[in-house]
């Protein structure tokens, strides 16, 4: 039922081949018929009264003026005033929301009505453009339901965005007669301009009982933390004016004030700042002598200079947002849009979406008392941080301020997160701009833990049929003190593994896993048999590593459990001639990969490889029977942002690229293939995650002039 959208566009338009002349007449006729049909349907569409229906909903093409009129008797009930002690657990009925696998609340919107009092006088403007946009956005969102019985949250269509545009008592009465009102439980009201003269209360004055309020301009005394939602005051200029994003960096003015109706006291303080700091401070006011036809809201003046608003905001690093009669100011939205860092001076103001947004990253909040110190406070902010704040400000505007849709969806998401906290959106998702999300990593193994040595490691040997060599590897590896289990992945479906009695007798458990298909990815499957964190992936022909070397490798892995720790190292290089990446296995001074023919890593990466490998890399590797190790290197580097650790000196390894059986040719094809892998993976990851380093890990006393027998790992580096 939820997949309705899949019905559309399942097939693209069919191509019509070139017609023969003699058929042309038929098609012209046919097309005319179709055209006529289309015109007819078009007439239906724009014929407002052509189809009448009893339901308010079935007909969508109607005018706002045609909505049903509801008359409110003078004595109809009025809800209680808002209850300041309301919290989700006291005033919200969670049972309505229920448990659902999608973890999404269901939101119902009441149909639009026009409310009039006994004398037929309208209670308010039926609906404003912004409220209509907001309801449209909710209706189009995943949250929406048209089934009032399944809804968890109810949004009245009564528009209370601007308290000055409505009659308080009658609006309250209109709320009270909503079909599911029930003291306002689970009802969500949106208000941007609360209060009225002379006090300008900071929350909507309409009595609303238990209803949640998404309000612009809450103060800390009216905001019910964890219940209400603080929203921005939408600035209609956002939609009108296109301010292209401007790169961060120094701007012409340092501080700019663009508000028109500042209290004279504030203006005096700002002017004092200007007097002190000269031209870097610009204080604009309304223009007094504009010619007719120029909208006053789009101009600002300083003395005789005229500036375009909001464009002028882009000329300043910081923009002052002072409280007016109300705490919430639409100018905040304009300022963010201009990528100007807002300096918010409004004591007790609850910033928009403060429940989830980290405003310290995008703004400077200065107590009103400290206004005289504003300049020095702002000067103390490092330039690099200012640039980040500029980016952050713009990002907040794009994501949460720019349209009524953005405001509506952020509000619903906040309420959704409270009801399904275990599926809530994280701080990073709310706050990190896309650029940061791209360039940053969040290491899944972020806690600095040095795993206990006693845990040991599990050696996983991938084998096909080289039994003799496999047995040698098993015998060699079993000598390593910290080995706790050995797992043989038998990748040959045509042949049974040797009988139990033939296997080498070793001191740790040895398990053989038979696979269903001969795939390279079997090596990285998170087998339940792996009970340790550390996995040693080792090929069935790596017999040259000494016990000391393997044990030391494990110790190094313990110090770097979130990295690949391996023996043979490799490098990727940028080939300037070919303009692409190149694989390098020569003796280089740098490494960026280790081969997983002999490498320690955390079992977690097996999960990632098997279930979270981006794109089609996993299948691609299985199909090409190559590069699973490069894929693993990419995966780990991409998720941790860290380099590999190569351990111990270079040895002669028996591996495809070291022993060119057939002279150079095999070697070269191999290198070409591997280079292709790197280019392929880099394009799938969308970046080159590998990190190049110049170091490798050796035991502390490696090659030092010190008695060998006193060294922990004496047998290292023998060829």
């Amino acid at each position: 039922i939820m997949c309705a959208s899949a019905k559309y566009n399942t097939r693209g338009p069919a191509l019509i081949p070139r017609m023969k002349t003699k058929h042309r007449i038929y098609y012209i006729t046919l097309f005319s018929i179709v055209l006529l049909g289309l015109i007819a349907t078009g007439m239906f569409q724009f014929w407002p009264h052509s189809i009448e229906s009893s339901s308010d909903w079935t007909v969508e093409k109607r005018s706002v003026h045609d909505v049903p009129v509801v008359k409110l008797p003078a004595d109809s009930p009025i809800p209680e005033r808002g209850d300041l002690s309301c919290r989700m657990h006291t005033c919200f009925d969670v049972y309505r929301c229920g448990f659902n696998p999608k973890n999404k609340i269901k939101v119902y919107i009441y149909s639009l009505k026009k409310y009039v009092d006994e004398y037929g006088m309208s209670v308010s403007n039926t609906i404003s453009r912004e409220y209509n946009e907001l309801l449209t956005a909710i209706s189009d969102s995943e949250f929406y339901t048209d089934d009032v019985n399944r809804a968890c949250l109810f949004v009245p269509s009564i528009d209370v965005l601007n308290q000055n545009a409505l009659r308080i008592k009658e609006t309250a009465q209109a709320f009270a007669q909503l079909s599911r009102w029930d003291r306002g439980t689970n009802h969500l009201l949106f208000n941007m301009l609360p209060g009225g003269p002379p006090d300008y209360n900071t929350a909507l004055d309409v009595p609303r009982d238990r209803a949640l309020l998404a309000g612009g301009g809450f103060s800390t005394w009216t905001y019910r933390q964890g219940y209400d939602v603080s929203i921005p005051v939408y600035s209609p200029l956002s939609g009108e004016v296109d301010l292209p994003e401007r790169g961060p960096g120094p701007r012409r003015y340092f501080i700019l004030s663009s508000q028109m109706a500042l209290h004279p006291e504030y203006r005096l303080e700002l002017e004092a700042l200007q007097a002190e700091n000269g031209e870097s401070v610009l204080i604009l006011d309304k223009c007094t002598n504009l010619s007719d036809g120029v909208p006053a809201v789009r101009k600002r003046c300083y003395k005789n200079q005229v500036f375009d608003y909001p464009q002028v905001l882009q000329e300043s690093t910081f923009c002052v947002v002072l409280r007016g009669a109300r705490l919430g100011q639409a100018v905040l939205s304009d300022v963010l849009q201009a990528g100007c860092v807002p300096v918010i001076i409004a004591d007790s103001y609850i910033l928009p979406f403060s429940e989830v947004l980290d405003w310290k990253r995008a703004s400077v909040v200065i107590p009103e008392e400290k206004m005289p110190e504003m300049y020095s406070i702002l000067q103390s902010i490092p330039q690099r941080q200012i640039e980040e704040m500029q980016r952050q400000a713009r990002w907040f505007w794009e994501a949460y301020f720019q349209s009524m849709k953005a405001i509506a969806l952020a509000t619903l998401q906040i309420i959704n997160d409270r009801i399904y906290p275990y599926a809530a959106i994280s701080y990073e998702e709310w706050n990190d701009p896309p650029a940061v999300k791209w360039s940053s990593v969040s290491n899944p193994l972020f806690l600095p833990l040095i795993p206990p040595q006693s845990q040991g490691f599990t050696a996983v040997v991938l084998t096909y049929d080289r039994v003799e060599s496999l047995f040698r590897v098993i015998t060699e590896v079993s000598k390593v003190p910290s080995l706790s289990k050995l797992l043989v992945v038998w990748n040959n479906q045509n042949k049974n593994p040797p009988e139990g009695s033939l296997w080498p007798k070793i001191r740790v458990p040895l398990k053989v896993v038979r696979t269903a298909e001969n795939k390279l990815s079997n090596r990285f499957f998170p087998y339940d048999e792996i009970e340790t964190e550390a996995v040693l992936a080792i090929d069935d022909d790596i017999i040259m590593l000494t016990s000391d070397e393997l044990q030391f490798g494990y110790e190094v892995w313990r110090e770097f459990p979130d990295r690949l720790v391996g023996y043979p190292g490799r490098l990727h290089l940028w080939d300037h001639e070919m303009n692409k990446w190149k694989y390098e296995s020569e003796w280089t001074n740098e490494v960026s990969m280790v081969l997983t023919g002999a490498a320690f890593y955390h079992k977690y990466f097996n999960y990632l490889y098997t279930y979270k490998m981006p794109g089609d890399i996993k299948n691609w590797v299985d199909a090409h029977m190559n590069c699973e190790d490069i894929a693993m290197n990419f995966l780990v580097a991409n998720v941790t942002g860290k380099s590999v650790i190569k351990v111990t000196p270079r040895k002669k390894f028996k591996c495809p690229e070291c022993t060119a059986i057939d002279g150079l040719s095999l070697d070269q094809t191999h290198m070409v293939e591997r280079s292709e892998c790197i280019n392929k993976f880099a394009s799938v990851f969308g970046t080159m995650p590998l990190k190049v380093v110049e170091h490798r890990a050796d035991p502390v006393l490696y090659k030092d002039d010190f008695p060998e027998k006193l060294k922990s790992f004496p047998n290292i580096g023998s060829l």
């Binding site: 049909g37 339901s55 300008y200 109706a261 980290d358 940053s440 964190e533 110049e694 006393l701």
Partner: protein, 760 residues
């Protein structure tokens, strides 16, 4: 003919498609589509005149924003002071910021009065404050005041309840209506409703209280603290129990609870229902009726069976072996099991409606706990089952980070409380929410150093920054006055030869003035000379002159080659949060003496990198000087031997990781040599800081052996004192050294980037 049919067919198809696209909505209303009508989603109508609708506010109205109010801003703020008091207190109305301006954030604790009983826990809190760098003994300087009266237990049925608090408080001349006071409380109210009542008037004081309910909590003013037991350690604290990161969480149980079931009274609603989710397999929820004296009076039919089941499981065992732990409200909202679960890496599933979570102003609990609803208890099992294993792993790690950063000791809880208040004083110099919730935690990040994440060594990867590409060589010179020694000249040459060197700063720690600028060698990089004081800790002062992220700390007699420096710096760029250096030493536990031992011999391990030749991040200078209490620095200056140990201990305490040793061409001289102080021939004035143990120093050259062992024991002492102060041994050992990739490999020297490192 075939093609024609095809064309006709195609055209029909196309026309139907078009009809559907444009006229679908209308067609639906025709009779033959009426069957579908019920299914169609009834969306918010697209009004035909939607573009003509009026805006919610006229642009002029929005920009002018009403009439200027009658009160001027100043008058309004003054009016607030009288309106928003007691239960409506906020920082701007109940806190006097001006007290904090002159001397900064200083905290004064009232002197203990005789005959005034103070519980063990409260004296721990007081001593935490006295140990903090914010403590002052002078009430004139203070910004924040802490009472000496024990206000932790305000349950008047309790033995530790202090009577007549109101009277006592009013007699304090500093009380001032509670302004700028901080009151700690763990238990408030009593049977039967355990309300938040403290039994005295706190006036305008900030309340730091456990089990805070959201309703009485004054946001941005009060602080919710966790409930902790009287055995909670003063400092250091036990580490968390997570030793391995496994996915999926390899634990026996999914969800556990073991505790009392209240048969009546407040909190019984939730506790009474907990047994419903028990399934005997992976969800264990055990309750007992046994509590209080008269439990048998209220006993119900379940009690006997429940009590038997209850005894079959051990609480500690459950904690260790479960992925999630239910933390329901008790009589009060918070419980000990919250911190217990946190330490055990058992993800807390909170069932405590209306609880203002501890330090929620700073901590993002959504990353470490599942905040459930008491009303939806029965959904909890399916909800936690649906949490993805990766998320579980992240949750577990976050519990450990939070436990270790803010909760594992009384010191941490108290210091977190103070830092949160301090952050409110200057919002523009405070920690962002990110800083509080990312390693190494808010206490270790000083907003006074910088508010930009890129200036700290911890966040490079998370924010896609990289450390600066140059370093500052910082040389501490103590040589004979008047002329420059050969070693320092060589050192300056070697260091300035590095392509990564941005500047050289010499800290001149002699009483004699430094040689005139003409005597210093000509270098390609700027060379700055700072006149320092004699104290050893001075070398870690955050000098303005140091402008790069990386500092290469050097002693004047250190001998390094340019390629050693180059290589070490590249390694540091991979590990910017650690100390990366050359000569190392290590610590060990000496079971015979029952104390920490220290060795400078060659060993297979290392845990200390000498700061005579080491790279580290500039931020550690600030941490050393500003985060550590003055007492520790005095200790180091007095012993005159272990400022580098303190630095290593500090960095290890911050990162929980060992330092890194890099290849070193030849052995550096035994460190004693560098202690040759700036003697003026034979007549030397011992430096003030070293006066007390200066005897062996009078002739260090002659009795080098003795001096060495004296110094050795000094350092060992110092190490033990530091471990004592931190409450644990922060140093971590490493078994590896980082060498260039081709180091001593059998390859042609021409291929090697750092051939000179291999010369004997």
């Amino acid at each position: 003919m075939q093609t024609r049919k095809k064309y006709i067919f195609l055209t029909f198809l196309a026309s139907w498609l078009l009809l559907f696209l444009f006229g679908g909505d209308q067609l639906r209303h025709f009779s033959f589509f009426s069957g579908r009508k019920a299914e169609a989603r009834r969306n918010w109508p697209r009004w035909t005149d939607r573009s003509l609708l009026k805006s919610f506010a006229d642009p002029e109205e929005l920009q002018r924003d009403g009439d200027p109010s009658l009160l001027s801003p100043r008058e309004r703020r003054a009016a607030w002071l009288s309106v928003y008091r007691s239960s409506r207190c906020r920082m701007e109305t109940c806190f006097d910021f001006s007290r904090c301006e002159k001397h900064g954030f200083k905290v004064f604790t009232y002197p203990q009065e005789r005959g005034q009983p103070v519980s063990e826990t409260y004296s721990k809190i007081l001593s935490s404050i006295e140990r903090s760098r914010y403590h002052t003994a002078n009430p004139e300087e203070a910004c924040l005041f802490i009472l000496s009266i024990d206000t932790l237990d305000r349950d008047h049925l309790s033995g530790q309840y202090v009577r007549n608090v109101d009277e006592k408080i009013r007699s304090f001349p500093l009380w001032n209506g509670g302004r700028n006071h901080l009151i700690f409380n763990l238990y408030s109210g009593t049977w039967p409703n355990y309300a938040g009542d403290l039994g005295f008037d706190i006036g305008q004081a900030i309340l730091a209280k456990a089990s805070f309910d959201t309703e009485s909590f004054r946001p941005g003013f009060d602080i919710s603290i966790p409930l902790f037991s009287k055995d909670h350690p003063q400092r250091g604290g036990d580490r968390g129990w997570l030793y391995q990161d496994s996915v999926p969480p390899r634990k026996k149980y999914l969800l556990v609870f073991k505790g009392k079931r209240y048969l009546t009274g407040i909190g019984s609603g939730t506790r009474n229902a907990l047994h419903h989710i028990h399934n005997g397999k992976d969800i264990i929820s055990l309750t007992t009726c046994k509590h209080g004296k008269d439990w048998e009076k209220h006993k119900d039919t379940r009690c006997d069976k429940d009590n038997i089941d209850y005894e079959r499981f051990d609480y500690q065992e459950l904690l260790h072996n479960s992925t999630f732990c239910i933390v329901p409200r008790g009589r009060r909202l918070g419980s000990f099991r919250f911190l217990e679960a946190l330490q055990a890496a058992c993800i807390p599933v909170l069932l405590s409606d209306g609880w203002e979570l501890p330090f929620a102003e700073a901590i993002d609990w959504g990353k470490a706990a599942v905040v459930g609803s008491e009303r939806l208890l029965l959904q909890i099992p399916s909800a936690v089952r649906c949490i993805h294993p990766e998320r579980v792993l992240a949750f577990q790690q976050q519990t450990q980070f939070l436990w270790d950063a803010y909760f594992s000791s009384v010191d941490k809880i108290v210091h977190t409380t103070l830092e949160i208040i301090k952050d409110r004083l200057s919002p523009h110099r405070s920690r962002s929410r990110f800083l509080w919730n990312a390693l190494p935690g808010g206490l270790l990040v000083l907003p006074d150093f910088s508010t930009h994440l890129g200036d700290f060594p911890f966040y490079y990867l998370q924010h896609g920054y990289s450390p600066s590409k140059k370093f500052t060589a910082f040389i501490r010179a103590v040589s004979q006055a008047g002329s420059l020694s050969q070693p320092i000249l060589r050192l300056i040459q070697a260091v300035s030869g590095s392509q990564f060197c941005a500047q050289i700063v010499v800290l001149w720690s002699c009483e004699k003035p430094p040689p005139p600028s003409g005597k210093w060698p000509q270098t390609t990089v700027p060379l700055t000379i700072i006149q320092g004081r004699r104290q050893l800790s001075d070398r870690f002062f955050p000098f303005e002159a140091v402008r790069t992220d990386a500092v290469l700390s050097l002693d004047e007699d250190t001998s390094l080659s340019t390629s050693e420096v180059d290589f070490a710096f590249l390694v540091w760029r991979s590990f910017p949060e650690r100390i990366v250096g050359f000569p190392t030493q290590s610590h060990f536990w000496d079971p015979e003496q029952g104390r920490w031992g220290y060795t400078s011999r060659w060993t297979n391990e290392l845990s200390i990198v000498l700061t005579a030749a080491a790279f580290y991040h500039r931020y550690y200078h600030s941490l050393f000087t500003e985060y550590l209490p003055a007492g520790l620095r005095e200790l180091v200056d007095e012993l005159a031997a272990c400022e580098d140990i303190l630095m290593n201990v500090l960095v290890a305490a911050v990162t929980k990781l060992p330092p890194i040793k890099v290849t070193q061409r030849k052995q550096h001289k035994e460190v004693v040599a560098q202690q040759a102080e700036c003697r003026d021939g034979a007549v030397g004035t011992p430096p003030p800081g070293q006066r007390s143990p200066s005897a062996p120093h009078s002739a260090p050259a002659r009795v080098k052996g003795t001096a060495g062992s004296w110094r050795f024991s000094q350092r060992q002492d110092c190490l033990n004192q530091l471990a004592d102060w931190f409450g644990y041994m922060p140093l971590v050992s490493s078994q590896l050294r980082l060498d260039p990739v081709l180091f001593k490999d059998q390859v042609s020297v021409l291929r090697k980037k750092y051939p000179s490192l291999e010369k004997p």
